[in-house]
Amino acid sequence: MNRTTINIAEYSFEYDESRGIITNSYGKNVSADVEKISNCEFSVLVDGKSFHIFFSTTQNSPNATVNNFIFEIQKETFRDKLNKKLHKESVNNNSITLRAPMPGLVTKILLLEGTAVNAGDGVLIIEAMKMENEIKSLHSGTIKKIFVQEKQTVEKNDQLFTIE
């Protein structure tokens, strides 16, 4: 099946690649005059309204920028969608892993593995662009594992620690 569902904010579209048709969630065919300017830059006219759209692949998922606001584009095939529905209940919600929100240097680990934490407690500090960023636990629980060490550089989305 070569149909793909594309989600942007609250909007959902279905793209049928073989037939070349984009349909929105209300079943209406979508209409636009698209002109590619460069690999990352498009001009799009929708009912006369002019949009200057940029794409970026530097972040973990594809992003579109319109008027300096950045929107994530989520793509899923029909199979993904089905799988998600079927397995929704079996996802393990007991353990939560926090990932690095930006690249940087781990300058300090504030809490040890096994420590009990409350939501909002600082767990470690990442330094980037001359600023110290305290990475806080979003949940209460126990620190099960810390994946990084002091003085270690991390990339965006690297695993930092797991709370159980």
């Binding site: 698209v34 002109e35 990352c40 579109a64 300096n68």
Partner: protein
């Protein structure tokens, strides 16, 4: 009187470009220095000469005095301009430059030293009857002492950590009953954050505005001020949106604060451009905060309103020239606003956003100025400050400057990193900013993640171009209802 012929700019980014421009307009040759990351940064491309610092970390590049002085000798410069940040407020750098026989474009080393320490600055100024936030400069030793000080200056008070800033170890206390517990908690926090549990006490100024006065002082003892800038819109204690003049100042108060700033400069034997920072409370009392002994990030708004190029004045003063105008010659003309464009996640607590700039087209037009240090292809790394540009607008009135800023923020196109542009837009549209009554708690009180609610047409634009990007452009002939179209002109070119 030494005529400066060649300047080394000991900085990077937008301020290096800024200094280059004024120097060139004065017929002065410019020398850039660069870290490995900055080999093709705008300041390197624009300056007449450029020399490598070899390295990436600030400590091995823009903070390395030996390398900088050595390049200055090699390039045979007469003077060094430090910009802001990096070595600009290090008295030992100023000394190294003059010891090497070159002109340091900034105050004397001794002036920087005295004003650089909160303690010596307060000592100097309290003798001159300059209003300072009441409190202790030295750490308090006991609860008894704290109680005594608090009673003297009156509640609310603020407990601050001696070991460092950034809001850590800081506690507001509204009554003596709260004091013991607050001191204990502040000490604990300070100890954790700075391994130093010492704290001191200051009067807590309720909802103050951050007002700063620009001064110019020549070596002949002439000191004038160029009015104020209001810089109350801050996040993480860093300014983001500034304006000149402030809505809070009457001509009388401007004159009074300006005169106080001039008095401070004279007391310190200040020479060159400098900024005196104050807090202004709701009752129009103002309190000295600190002196920034270098050009300020937000200096352009003063330039736009007073029509004076502050960098050129710095150079002229450094050449030993007298100021070419008096206090009476400088007049307010219109209103200016600056929006700082940081590479930060506007929707995620202002975390730094790194990446490659794949598109860059800043705003232009009447009354719009963009001071930038990036170009297409620039790598925004975690090594340096995330401020990539400053957008400044000038209008005949505050309203016009605001409308111009709204237009210019919307026109600004940048791709590759997230920026503070949506944050600045939120500020410019906020009633509290528009009415001018905001204070330094604006972000804490009013900041909501900018509303990125997308409309149906925008979502269609994104989706159709996203599909095009994947080189899976739908074929027009297949289905009449589909209308992802290429324009005729491009098709025509393709057929040729």
């Amino acid at each position: 009187m030494p005529k400066i012929k060649k300047i080394l700019i000991a900085n990077r980014g937008e301020i290096a470009v800024r200094i280059h421009r004024s120097a060139k307009e004065m017929g002065i040759q410019t020398v850039a220095i660069f870290s490995d990351i900055d080999r093709t940064s705008p300041h390197v491309l624009l300056c007449d000469e450029a020399y490598p610092l070899n390295g990436v970390l600030s400590s091995e590049t823009y903070l390395n005095i030996d390398k900088i002085i050595s390049i200055a000798h090699k390039a045979k410069v007469d003077a060094i301009h430090p910009g802001y940040g990096f070595l600009s407020e290090k008295e030992f750098f100023a000394k190294s430059v003059t010891d090497a026989g070159m002109i340091f474009i900034g105050p004397k080393s001794e002036t920087i030293e005295i004003l650089g320490s909160k303690t010596t600055a307060r000592d100097l100024l309290s003798k001159k009857n300059i209003p300072i936030v009441p409190g202790t400069t030295n750490p308090i030793d006991s609860l008894e002492e704290a109680t005594k000080v608090a009673a003297e200056i009156g509640f609310p008070i603020l407990i601050k950590a001696s070991g460092g800033g950034g809001g850590k170890g800081m506690r507001r206390v509204d009554s003596s009953a709260e004091l013991p517990n607050a001191i204990e908690r502040a000490r604990n926090e300070a100890s954790k954050a700075f391994s130093d549990d010492r704290v001191y006490i200051e009067k807590y100024i309720v909802n103050p505005k951050h007002i700063e006065i620009q001064i110019l002082a020549d070596s002949k003892g002439n000191v004038i001020h160029l009015g104020e800038r209001e810089c109350s819109i801050q996040r993480r204690h860093q300014k983001v949106v500034e304006e000149c003049p402030s809505t809070a100042l009457t001509p009388e108060l401007r004159s009074k604060m300006g005169q106080t700033a001039v008095d401070i400069a004279k007391a310190a034997g200040y020479i060159n451009a400098g900024t005196i920072e104050f807090l202004l409370d709701a009752n129009k009392n103002f309190y000295f905060l600190e002196v920034n002994t270098r050009v300020q990030v937000e200096h352009p708004i003063t330039e736009m309103v007073y029509g004076i190029d502050i960098i050129k004045e710095q150079i002229r003063i450094a050449e030993g020239k007298s100021l070419s105008f008096t206090q009476n010659d400088v007049k307010i003309n219109g209103h200016a606003i600056e929006s700082r464009i940081y590479a930060e996640e506007y929707d995620n607590n202002f975390l730094p956003s790194t990446g490659t700039i794949t598109h860059y087209q800043p705003s232009e037009g009447l009354g719009v100025r963009n001071d930038s240090g990036i170009r297409v292809g620039s790598e925004i790394t975690m090594y340096y400050d995330p401020m990539i540009a400053k957008l400044i607008t000038h209008g005949r009135t505050r309203d016009e400057a605001i409308e111009k800023m709204k237009r210019a923020l919307r026109e600004y196109k940048i791709n590759g990193v997230k920026t503070t542009i949506p944050f600045c837009e939120m500020v410019l549209f906020h009633p509290e900013f528009i009415n001018g009554n905001y204070d330094i708690n604006f972000v804490a009180k009013h900041y909501l993640v900018p509303d990125a609610k997308i409309n149906a047409q925008e979502s269609i634009a994104i989706v159709t171009s996203f599909v095009s990007q994947k080189n899976t452009l739908p074929k027009l002939s297949d289905d009449k209802t589909l209308t992802v179209i290429n324009s005729k002109w491009k098709n025509q070119l393709r057929n040729e």
